[in-house]
């Protein structure tokens, strides 16, 4: 498979690729210039969004159609002839999901250095998602590539033999990839609904069409080249607004080099806000609201009934006044949106109470931006406890994301497409480079946006709010809400609520860029979500078809028939994921982090042991995977509120272990997997082989 013989042919192939890439980049830039010109000549905003959405999806689909294949080697591993640089680009696009592109800067904005005490985050995401590549490069990828496999579960069968290691690995791959793909499709829906103004659910379906056209027709080969195209779009979409903001604020477009000065300015402004009386009025208003919900929770049924009566009365009054239909519809919606019964009301009001309590803090509950960890190491015992807890959760989250990186099947699969083992190593290095291009700018963006908000938005008048605020608030109130809590007509920092998923998408408008850049950013978010969804869907369908269906018993099927079956499984999985995403399960980042913890616990201990310790047995591998995955899943599920309410208490883990948040369940899963794999391997070790000499005799 290695193409050592035709060095000249390789070079020509590489040059042809470079030429195509250069033409493509120029094409994208030219298109941007054209759109900017058209906007200045009066092209309506209603058209710009759909044009970006439609054209970008068409380009990806075009590449998908061009790269269509039914050949197994091409479908599963792109013929193993992707040069490292392009493999790195594709891996970077595959890697940078909707979570990275849409939510990461937002999370850094909201969580600062290390997140709030109950919710670690911030730079842990950045470190986790880059540091994991060291593990991939050093411990995993080249070794897997050396074995010449097709999927990650293949490794478990080749290394350990038997059926169970592979079956468990395939199931684990499906579980963690599915959680992840739901998050991607949610991101697609969010962007498509913003760009085109259609409903969230229709947005999901539109984006899904784009995903399917690529992965359905061409498998790994088409996905690889689509991902390269998507990487270019998402890189431009990220760097243009960041550079613009940096140029606007600091006079230098290379944001990562210069944003240090803004950090100290933000620290000063934070100190000012912490001393401002208006901010304390806002805090008091939120506190009052939270107490109101708390009071309602004392007698949920009565409060719910009161609420219903109040809204019905409002509708009646509106009807009687022959008021605007819009107002009546809004009031009826409010009525329909009321919780159906007391349990639902209790759940929702508890959530609202917590949210309001969270916002009833200085700086709207946001930590100080560049300040590591909450609490004080030299303070009271309570503050010390907060400090250690916050630091421990930060390190735990970082650990889970790093180790999870080394275990996510859709990423590892990418390195199978490299022509040689050395190529696989180089591919990892290129991936990290291309990812870092974006990740070094993400904290810069968070800092610049925070400066922009604190400097310009805070203190402006409510009746002079920019347009984009109303537009986004209409898409989803949880993304953006801004409300005059203390009634002084001025925006206080505590009154602005920005959702993590919003900040990147709204950055161009915040910075006053032409609307074309908003379109580009949305297209970039779409590219990020689509590229990751492509890779994930392929992983899931491969695991289901190659690793489960055809391994259960040998079936007579030609490679082409298998590929076709994989394609239809992919279609089914994509529809299932879209269905789950349409339920809007939760924010993007927590979902993604959960799948990292699962992947870390299920795959990494056994995979690394399998590669580096010859004594690992099949039984040990099975035990390691089951214990790791089981413990991580158990710890996470024990803290899901709805399960806590339904399952008996003795079944669930009581409280947090060592104060670790459920999102970082991998901290327990990984050691559990490691220890159980080693122990069981040791117990079931085969009798020592006789020296070969005696066999000869």
């Amino acid at each position: 498979m290695a193409e050592n013989g035709a060095a000249d042919g390789d070079k020509a192939y590489l040059w042809r690729l470079h030429r195509i890439l250069a033409t493509y980049v120029l094409g994208v830039l030219g298109f941007l210039a054209l759109m900017t010109w058209a906007e200045s000549r009066g092209l309506s905003r209603h058209w710009i969004g759909p044009i970006f959405l439609f054209l970008s999806v068409m380009v990806y689909a075009g590449i998908g159609v061009y790269g269509r294949t039914t050949d197994a080697e091409e479908y599963y591993v792109a013929g193993r002839r992707i040069p490292p640089m392009y493999n790195g680009m594709a891996a970077a696009a595959d890697w940078m999901s909707a979570a990275s592109f849409i939510s990461l800067s937002g999370a850094l904005y909201l969580q600062g250095f290390s997140g709030t005490p109950g919710h670690a985050g911030g730079l842990a995401y950045l470190l986790g998602w880059t540091g994991g590549f060291c593990l991939v490069a050093i411990l995993v990828a080249p070794h897997l590539r050396a074995m010449g496999l097709y999927t990650v579960p293949d490794f478990f069968q080749v290394r350990f033999g038997g059926r169970w290691p592979r079956v468990i690995a395939a199931l684990a791959a499906v579980v963690c990839s599915f959680t992840y793909v739901v998050a991607q499709i949610y991101g697609v829906g969010l962007i498509a609904s913003r760009l085109t103004g259609v409903q969230f659910e229709i947005g999901i379906m539109l984006g899904l069409g784009g995903v399917l056209l690529c992965s359905f027709l061409g498998g790994m080969r088409a996905i690889t080249w689509t991902q390269v195209a998507q990487y270019v779009v998402l890189l431009l979409a990220f760097l243009i607004p960041v550079s613009w903001l940096a140029y606007k604020q600091l006079g230098n477009p290379v944001a990562p080099l210069v944003y240090g000065t803004q950090i100290s300015k933000i620290a000063d402004m934070e100190a000012e806000l912490l001393a401002s009386p208006a901010e304390y009025e806002v805090v008091a208003a939120y506190l009052a609201r939270a107490r109101d919900y708390e009071a309602r929770l004392e007698n949920v049924e009565a409060a719910l009934e009161d609420e219903r009566i109040a809204i019905r009365e409002k509708i009646r009054v509106l009807r009687a006044k022959n008021a605007d239909v819009g107002l009546i519809v809004a009031a009826s919606r409010e009525l329909a949106a009321l919780p159906r019964d007391a349990t639902a009301a209790r759940e929702r009001w508890t959530k609202l109470m917590q949210e309001n309590y969270e916002r009833a803090q200085p700086l709207g509950g946001l930590p100080r931006h560049s300040h590591a960890y909450a609490g004080y190491p030299d303070g009271t015992p309570e503050e010390q406890a907060v400090f250690t807890d916050s630091r421990r959760n930060f390190l735990a989250l970082m650990f889970c994301l790093m180790v999870g990186t080394a275990g996510l099947p859709h990423l590892l699969m990418r390195y199978y497409t490299s022509p040689t083992v050395a190529g696989a190593r180089a591919s990892v290095a290129w991936s990290l480079f291309f990812i870092a291009l974006l990740y070094l700018s993400a904290p810069a963006l968070a800092v610049l946006v925070k400066f922009e908000v604190m400097n310009n938005l805070v203190g402006s008048h409510f009746d002079a709010l920019p347009n984009w605020i109303a537009q986004w608030a209409r898409v989803d109130a949880s993304l953006l809400s801004i409300e005059d809590m203390n009634g002084d007509g001025l925006v206080q920092f505590g009154e602005i609520h920005l959702g993590a998923d919003l900040i990147m998408l709204a950055t161009p408008e915040l910075g006053g860029l032409p609307y074309v850049v908003s379109g580009l950013v949305a297209a970039g978010g779409l590219a990020a979500a689509l590229s990751t969804a492509d890779g994930l869907l392929l992983t899931i369908s491969n695991a289901l078809v190659r690793d489960l269906y055809f391994q259960a018993k040998p079936r007579n099927a030609s490679p082409e028939q298998r590929v076709i079956l994989t394609k239809f499984t992919l279609l089914a999985v994509a529809l299932a994921a879209a269905f789950v995403a349409a339920l809007k399960p939760s924010d993007i980042l927590p979902l993604v982090s959960a799948s990292f913890s699962l992947a870390a616990s299920a795959f990494v201990p056994v995979m690394v042991l399998g590669i580096f310790w010859r004594g690992t047995t099949r039984q040990g591998a099975v035990a390691g995977m089951l214990c790791g995955l089981g413990l991580a899943a158990y710890y996470m599920l024990s803290h899901v509120p709805s399960l806590r309410a339904t399952l008996p208490h003795w079944l669930l883990a009581d409280g947090l272990w060592f104060g670790i948040q459920p999102i970082s369940a991998g901290v327990f899963g990984v050691p559990a997997g490691l220890v159980s794999a080693v122990l069981v391997s040791w117990l079931t070790r085969p009798p020592p082989l006789r020296p070969p000499v005696r066999l000869e005799m």
């Binding site: 059926r163 190491p377 990740y439 040998p554």
Partner: protein, 111 residues
């Protein structure tokens, strides 16, 4: 629960396959780089609050390491690993070439 490997239609996937023994130099390289990896991520972040007080060129050091320094070191680690492994493999290939029969250099890559 454990069964003997089922008769598989893909002969190369039939049985357990213990990995090749790893070259000691490779293991040392890996250990050294992983130590550096742990140092810039876990150790540095453990002391992030103490590093915050140091301000270098306008940057609080703790924030700079988390936002940029560590990522740059990660890239360096991966690049050094690539370079060193390629070097080892070239050395191995050169040594294998000294005796008369040159084996294919790609046949037993260690990763």
């Amino acid at each position: 629960m454990m069964q003997p490997p089922p008769p598989s239609h893909e002969a190369e996937l039939a049985g357990p396959f213990p990995p090749d023994l790893h070259d000691v130099r490779h293991l040392q390289l890996k250990a050294g780089l992983l130590l550096l990896w742990a140092l810039v991520s876990f150790v540095a972040m453990y002391f992030a609050r103490d590093l915050e007080a140091l301000v270098v060129g306008g940057w609080p050091l703790g924030f700079w390491i988390a936002a940029q320094g560590a990522v740059l070191v990660f890239i360096a680690i991966v690049v050094v690993y690539c370079w060193a492994m390629n070097r080892f493999e070239r050395q191995d290939a050169a040594q294998a070439d000294l005796p008369s029969a040159p084996p294919a250099p790609q046949s037993h890559p260690h990763g």
